[in-house]
């Protein structure tokens, strides 16, 4: 029994070498665990302390492998951000193509302008379509709903005084601006992503104008 078990084990080892799997790293069974996954798995177990890190990937959701792979290749050229390159597994997650396509189409439909929204201290990113808001009041209301907080009203002189939160955005030039500084239409076309700042950093912003 013992000999056949060890022979069997050898067979298994040999087979593993030729195993055709596109499995992801992430368990003790695999040797090469890229840094990003280690970071991710340790970060996710203490979700409230997650540092604010916005990965530099494309903003639109589900794309098929071809375009996604090329986008990933582009992103790995960015310095600073850890490369989000992840081999896309065929047929995983198990979702029908028409669903994937539909989600993607809806995000592209009617020229939706999707931007990521993050909030300091929150583990979840959101994506919103700026096109569906008529102006700043609706956007702010929506953000308040989404993150369950009060941002209050914008004033040119004092920003969002009285609130612990300040909505900011990164514009086309890479500058971080306070939401509300520019006319709405200009904002919609120049906003790359949103970040809701919290605490003293936030309170300081309004007065810097």
């Amino acid at each position: 029994m013992a000999t056949s078990a060890s022979a069997y084990e050898n067979d298994i080892k040999n087979l593993k070498a030729t195993e055709l799997t596109l499995g992801l790293p992430g368990t003790h069974l695999q040797e090469n665990i890229p840094i990003i996954d280690q970071e991710k798995s340790s970060a996710s177990s203490s979700s409230n302390k997650r540092p604010l890190q916005l990965p530099h990937e494309e903003t639109s959701p589900a794309q098929d492998c071809g375009s996604k792979c090329s986008n990933i290749a582009k992103n790995t050229d960015d310095d600073a951000a850890p490369p989000p390159s992840k081999a896309k597994i065929v047929g995983w997650p198990p979702i029908r193509s028409y669903r994937k396509n539909s989600l993607q189409e809806q995000s592209e439909a009617a020229g939706g302008i999707y931007v990521k929204v993050s909030m300091d201290g929150a583990p979840y990113l959101r994506k919103i379509d700026l096109k569906i808001y008529g102006g700043y009041p609706q956007l702010l209301k929506s953000l308040e709903n989404m993150f369950k907080l009060t941002i209050g009203e914008y004033s040119e002189k004092e920003g969002y005084k009285g609130s612990d939160y300040a909505p900011t955005y990164e514009d086309k030039d890479g500058d971080w601006m306070l939401v509300g500084d520019v006319p709405w239409d200009m904002f919609v076309t120049s906003c790359k992503r949103l970040r809701i700042m919290k605490g003293s950093e936030a309170r300081g912003l309004g007065c810097a104008v």
């Binding site: 593993k16 959701p61 065929v90 995983w92 979702i95 709903n145």
Partner: protein, 584 residues
């Protein structure tokens, strides 16, 4: 005892048999004795063929000469996720041709995951005078021209359902091919069509068919046309909207709300592409009568979903995107005490980080609050053994449990342990579990639990799990009622497969891809088991151009009385006695 069977006239037996409708029972009847077999086969009207290659058209027709309804399934389930290459098979044509000749009075054809050509549709349209029901579920290969043939010729058509099929949409004109005199439509599902249909023709069709109960539109039907359609069919029970967006105008809104309110029988809603949240309240008046709601295309946030769902007190089935979040599921659990089925789909399946606040907690809430919950499909990004344990103890009445933790091999996020115990609790407590899909970090131990407790399990889906053949062996040797097993990217190999070869004849099919099954073992299996078709798929070339110990890309094994199939494409090889000849 002599000739006791003949003391009942045949007609009486036939009459008695006519009350037996379940396939299983009819099969049992036919095994009682030869005369019952004979009587039964002549009066069988409905047949379900779970695998179109398990039997052939001539065999079917020879045994059942008087069928009125045939259901056929083609490709394996994993075809839904692009794991089955194009051209694999599942061609409907030979079946349709054969049935056209043998069953002039055929009324119903239902096909799933099959390749259907326009030619086949034309044959259907011209061959069956009393044709009533055509359901093409997840099919492909036909165009709107084929649909035009059906519309133009099937005078008694009641149901045309194209659910989730891939149709080459050449023109929306086909709908006009229903003659003006045609009024028998009861169910129409065109939700999968990409282009606009002729809206005027649609409106006229809908309003002249008084028995229309189900209408599922496609995305291209604009929202402002919906009120007219609804007014033309106030008796509708099931509606799938088109795009649910329009310029926000109060008159459009009130028109829509009024039209919805007029549909007093409406119980099922779906569609909801491109939802503009401010239009959702138009359905509020009918929410209290809804039993089924499919919001799985509605990209709206949790607050809007919560408002809607909290009004649906009679809801039994909800399909929704993970935008509903844990908060929304908590409201669902509190509001919808009659819930039987929940499916939560991912809004950003390929994103590297969570984009919504949906965790295992949402599912736990629903399991606590909904006593009738039986069927679950849940995509999420974290799970724990504790949560699975709670769910299992809360809901021992679960019959279908499919969990997809998006990152393969994710451990229990609290303990970093495998999720063996959690899934073990599911199979142990849910004694009537028929369908299970696993995910997360799993060792052979979970399969030991499944083999021990999963006695009623009929379908199991496994991905990126297990350590060794022992895992597969536990399942094949322990799950007495297993019919379909589909496995991908697991270290399962030859030993378990060959040791349980006989089991495979008691199942409909086994799929294994990216596992460790060697070509040699496949050959052995094929030779040992003549009543199984052992098909090896390899797109990189003939398997015998590599060593016998090389693992095959994909393996599909199924029982059959029809022998090896003859329509295999170049990348599929069948292993049987003649396999040596076939490959060379």
């Amino acid at each position: 005892m002599k000739k006791a069977a003949y003391s009942f006239p045949e007609e009486v037996l036939e009459h008695v048999f006519s009350f037996i409708v379940s396939d299983k029972d009819r099969s049992s009847i036919s095994l009682v004795c030869k005369s019952w077999y004979e009587i039964e086969r002549w009066c069988r009207r409905k047949v379900f063929v779970g695998n179109c290659y398990a039997v052939s058209p001539p065999i079917l027709i020879k045994r059942f000469p008087e069928l009125r309804s045939v259901t056929l399934k083609g490709k394996p389930h994993f075809a839904d996720f692009n794991l089955v290459p194009e051209g694999w098979g599942g061609f409907a044509c030979p079946w349709i041709r054969a049935m056209a000749g043998a069953y002039p009075w055929l009324e119903e054809i239902r096909l799933k995951r099959m390749v259907v050509s326009d030619e086949s549709l034309e044959i259907i349209a011209k061959s069956f005078r009393n044709f009533k029901v055509l359901v093409l579920s997840s099919c492909e290969g036909f165009t709107t021209e084929g649909l035009a043939a059906i519309a133009a010729n099937c005078r008694n058509l009641r149901e045309l359902d194209l659910r989730e099929s891939e149709v080459e949409d050449l023109s929306g004109r086909w709908l006009s091919d229903f003659p003006d005199s045609y009024t028998s439509l009861e169910s129409l599902n065109i939700s999968c069509l990409g282009n606009e249909v002729n809206l005027l023709a649609l409106e006229r069709l809908v309003s002249r068919c008084p028995n229309l109960k189900t209408l599922r539109l496609n995305r291209a039907v604009p929202l402002d046309r919906l009120p007219n359609l609804l007014r033309g069919a106030p008796q509708l029970a099931e509606l799938g909207t088109g795009a649910y967006t329009s310029e926000m105008r109060p008159d459009v809104f009130s028109n829509l709300a009024e039209a919805f309110a007029g549909c007093k029988q409406l119980k099922t809603l779906s569609g909801f592409w491109d939802v503009l949240p401010s239009y959702l309240p138009a359905v509020y008046p009918i929410c209290s009568q809804l039993i089924s709601l499919n919001l799985s295309y509605a990209t709206v946030q949790s607050p809007d979903l919560i408002k809607l769902v909290s009004l649906c007190e009679k809801l039994q089935k909800l399909w929704v995107l993970d935008y509903i979040e844990d908060d929304g599921l908590e409201v669902l659990a509190a509001s919808c005490k009659d819930l039987r089925e929940l499916r939560v789909f991912p809004s950003d399946p390929f994103g590297l980080e969570p984009n919504v606040a949906l965790t295992e907690q949402g599912l736990v809430s629903v399991s606590e609050g909904c006593p009738k919950l039986q069927s679950v499909l849940y995509f999420c990004r974290q799970m724990s053994n504790a949560a699975l344990n709670t769910i299992a103890r809360n809901r021992p009445n679960l019959t279908r449990f499919r969990l997809c933790i998006i990152e393969p091999r994710s451990p229990d996020y609290l303990t970093l342990q495998p999720l063996d115990d959690g899934f073990g609790a599911i199979v142990e407590h849910c004694k009537d579990l028929r369908r299970l899909s696993l995910s997360g970090l799993l060792t052979d131990r979970v399969f030991e639990y499944i083999g021990t407790y999963g006695k009623k399990l009929e379908m199991l889906s496994v991905a990126f799990a297990g350590d060794s053949d022992l895992g597969l062996h536990h399942v094949l040797s322990g799950c007495d009622n297993l019919r379909k097993l589909e496995i991908r990217d697991c270290p399962f190999g030859d030993k378990a497969l060959l040791a349980n070869a006989a089991k495979l004849e008691t199942m409909r099919s086994l799929w294994m891809s990216s596992c460790s099954v060697s070509f040699g073992a496949c050959k052995v299996l094929g030779q040992k088991m003549p009543r199984l078709n052992v098909e090896v798929m390899d797109e990189s070339g003939p398997p015998d151009s590599r060593p016998e110990s090389s693992p095959v890309e994909k393996l599909y094994v199924y029982r059959t009385v029809a022998g090896p199939r003859l329509d295999m494409p170049g990348f599929v090889w069948t292993m049987d006695d003649d396999s040596a000849l076939r490959i060379s």
